[in-house]
Symmetry: C2
DNA sequence: CGCAAACTTGCACGCCGTGCACACATGCGT
DNA sequence: ACGCATGTGTGCACGGCGTGCAAGTTTGCG
């Protein structure tokens, strides 16, 4: 992790950012995203409205930030898999590990709130796209491709990243929308998703 | 097509919508999306600013509308494939047909402009998500699933739709970002994309 | 022709997002 | 310990955004 040594300044920044994001989620859970103003969020985090915009460029970004951070963890889990694992094996294993990181019911409630708020959808998808780019780089490295500084990768890596993120998104959406909170169900759906991808999605 | 018989009212509405969308694209191409105000778009389409919001809820939506409509065509092409084709065959064939619909250089310039405008990304992705839902329904019907009125579909259909849309997005992005305008290159990349999906994206 | 429904428009209002200037805190070299 | 360069927080101002509302206009239909 990069969280080893930070000066007071850095720590304060992270704390403020976290406070803003948490306030955004809490207020949105209570009143609905649409009915929360940025000013309320800033007040709850005890900073000025102007300062809010030093950290996030919109209310939606603040609400989604937590979810986004969880996605970064997934990318790191993939990177941490042994180099001799195939791409799809590494992705599958990392994803199943990642299910453990989904914490308690409050986080799940927040997830549900986000997934069913239409105005949040564009920003959630944009967050997915960000992680997809990061994941593509990790996959390209695993494939032995050399990745230029601009982050452009080959078709194969970009495709694998996009497809798996799409699969994860679909499975996660169905799980949060469904009534159950049983993680075994989620694990089973993820496994089936990877199985179908491996089988080429063929129906004949 | 559904464009057979429309009253004057409906035709005017479609014309206004098209005029707004085209004005949005033209002005964005000329000045950049960020520097175009909704008022300018409304003026160019010769309607009031207030009327703009009767058609689109944001500038971005208007700019992306054309691209979005093209996506609907793709979904219809898939639906039109013979019922005895497998899902992946129908998707592959429809997509290759769809390449023909990409018209001249001006449309391509518009596409390029959209793809490289960051503030448009969320709305483009949301548009993709809309078509993904429609595509999932078409796929579910082809699989013989019965689709309830709320549009919910099985994992298999949802997954196939999401994965193929993700693949198309990746290939299209790489093509527009690359220098070439050669459609044979695009066709080849699409074919390779489907091949890799069929092969389960496996690298061992 | 006349009415009901749909569409357009102007107005008003509050929120959003940013540039700017200035105050203040921090870290760093001396 | 001190002072300076740099970075961060805040208030202010301003223009654009998005919507509810009510009044005016057009369209479709009996």
């Amino acid at each position: 992790m990069t969280t080893v040594e930070l000066g007071r300044r850095e720590r304060k920044k992270l704390a403020t950012r976290a406070a803003l994001s948490e306030a955004a989620v809490a207020l949105s859970l209570e009143h609905g995203v649409e009915h929360v103003t940025i000013e309320q969020i800033a007040d709850a985090a005890d900073v000025s409205l102007r300062t809010f915009f030093n950290y996030f460029s919109s209310k939606e970004e603040a609400v989604v930030a937590g979810d986004s951070a969880r996605g970064d963890v997934l990318v790191e889990l993939v990177r941490a898999r042994p180099a001799d694992e195939s791409v799809m094996t590494a992705l599958r294993t990392a994803m199943l590990e990642h299910v453990e990181d989904l914490a308690g019911d409050d986080q799940l409630d927040a997830l549900r709130m986000m997934r069913r708020t239409p105005s949040l959808l564009p920003h959630q998808l944009a967050a997915y796209a960000d992680r997809e780019r990061a994941l593509a780089v990790v996959i390209a490295e695993r494939l032995g491709d050399d990745v230029p500084d601009d982050g452009s990768v080959g078709l194969r890596a970009a495709l694998a990243a996009a497809v798996v993120m799409a699969g994860v998104r679909v499975v996660l959406l169905r799980w949060t929308d469904g009534g159950t909170r049983d993680r075994d169900v989620l694990r089973a759906d993820l496994a089936e998703m990877f199985d179908q991808l491996a089988a080429g999605l063929d129906d004949r």
